[in-house]
Amino acid sequence: MRRACTAWLLLALAAAAPAPGPAIVLASTTSVENSGLLAHILPLFTAATGIRVHVLAQGTGQALATAARGDADLVLVHDPEAEARFIAEGHGIDRREIAWNDFILVGPLADPAHVAGGHDAVAALRRIAETSAPFVSRGDASGTDALEKRLWRVAGITPSGGWYREIGGGMGQALNAAEAMGAYTLSDRGTWLAFGNKAGLGASVEGDPRLLNRYDVIRLDPRRHPAVQSGPAGRLADWLASPEGQAAIGDYRLGGTQLFHPDADAPPADSQIRSGGGC
């Protein structure tokens, strides 16, 4: 019995004790984690610097809120308006764009609103509202949710009614819900490509310049958040923006498809987003 207790104590200590070397907390959007990007690139950073990275995969709104309480060392998010507020409120400094891809409107293959194959996201949303085709909204203040709300504003529509379903969940939950309900939803391309339950869903609308999805890394202002590990966090931000980090982002492929474009590989001047499998 005593031996069992000792063994247990050692096991518990091993689990609780911090491993050697510094570890920083990166509050990130779910898309870069769920798509497998961070699991691909962060080990390269850790190998190069000895700094371990603990990833909190949250929606952009929650990630910024976590960081604003001083509970993260660095944020990686994708909602330009919320990021600007975060910086204006004095929490963040040194915003850098490190990757981009695009959003797509995902919908049932049966396409009840007849929007498939289009390239105008706003026109498609109008059609969905007119036909009252089911639409799943994240409703979680994430970057994707923020863009969806902006698109509805551009369309001049305040979505409401039984067809508009706010699920208050992450991207994967929204895709699972859309699949189950035969509904449309807005998804970032990375999560969509990595998603394992596509079943009756397909990409309906893509290639609209308004669907550009940029990922920014923001450091926390050490004057506002003195407990933050500014040094190692800054090294991760620098590495993500460095040629080495940018190459790692561009190298990540899932089933032969590139999911994220490094910032250096900027979208063409007319902002026409490349679409289809090559993205």
Binding site: W8, L11, A12, A15, A16, A23, V25, T30, N34, A39, H54, V55, L56, A57, R69, G70, D71, G169, G170, M171, G172, Q173, L175, N176, E179, A194, F195, G196, N197, K198, H225, A227
Partner: protein
């Protein structure tokens, strides 16, 4: 899915540690509730039973606000660590073990308390005898507490953060794989979790109840 065994290991370390701590606290509280004589005892019993329905997400959020850098205990650096997860699950398990433990101790105390006292055995000295009489029911209380901790996801997701290789457990991994649309993998993880739960219960019963003793409590009593 990489690192499967560490996930199972962390689930067990966190939940068994929380259950152990909660058992100490819960049994102490149960003894006070069953044998104590003080004002407000009835109210405390009602409160402990009411806390059986403690929502894990709310417990997680409350602890998050306390352990956050902007909160009163932020300096401990516990947030997003296994330690915070053990703390959260302990809070969830204490009312269960205390309420069921109270039930288990109150009944033999009603029946034998007077006899014990007439033999000159004090309340404190009666406890070992009561624990021995009620050990199967007390074990059920511990297993109910363990069931709560190993299966909950709401609290540890908030205070642990589901960090890969550090605070990811079976339940948070199931939630994650579901959100990635890997429903088959999520379901098989759920199967493994049930298997582990069965194994722990079986081991606990085997250690506590003599062979052939299970299911014969009525005749034995």
């Amino acid at each position: 899915m990489a690192g499967f065994l560490p996930i199972v290991g962390l689930s067990l370390v966190v939940s068994l540690s929380a259950t152990a701590i909660a058992s100490l606290l819960g049994f102490a509280l149960a003894s006070v509730l069953a044998l104590g004589r003080f004002r407000g005892r009835a109210a405390l019993i009602v409160l402990v039973n009411a806390l059986l329905g403690l929502p894990p997400v709310a417990v997680g959020l409350l602890l998050y606000l306390i352990l956050s850098h902007a909160g009163p205990l932020g300096g401990l650096g516990l947030l997003f660590t296994p330690g915070a997860m053990i703390l959260a699950q302990t809070v969830l398990a204490v009312p269960i073990i205390a309420a069921l433990g109270h039930r288990a101790l109150a009944e033999p105390w009603l029946r034998y308390g007077r006899a014990l006292r007439s033999c000159g055995v004090g309340r404190m000295r009666s406890l070992p005898a009561l624990f021995a009489m009620s050990r199967v029911a007390l074990l059920t209380a511990v297993l109910a507490g363990f069931g709560r901790t190993i299966s909950e996801v709401g609290a540890i997701l908030v205070v642990g953060g589901n960090i890969a290789g550090y605070t990811r457990t079976m339940t948070t991994a199931i939630a994650l794989e579901t959100s990635k649309g890997n429903l088959g993998l999520a379901l098989s993880l759920g199967g493994v979790l049930i298997g582990i739960s069965v194994a722990v219960s079986t081991a606990a019963l085997a250690l506590t109840v003599p062979p052939g003793g299970l299911g014969r409590e009525n005749q034995a009593g």
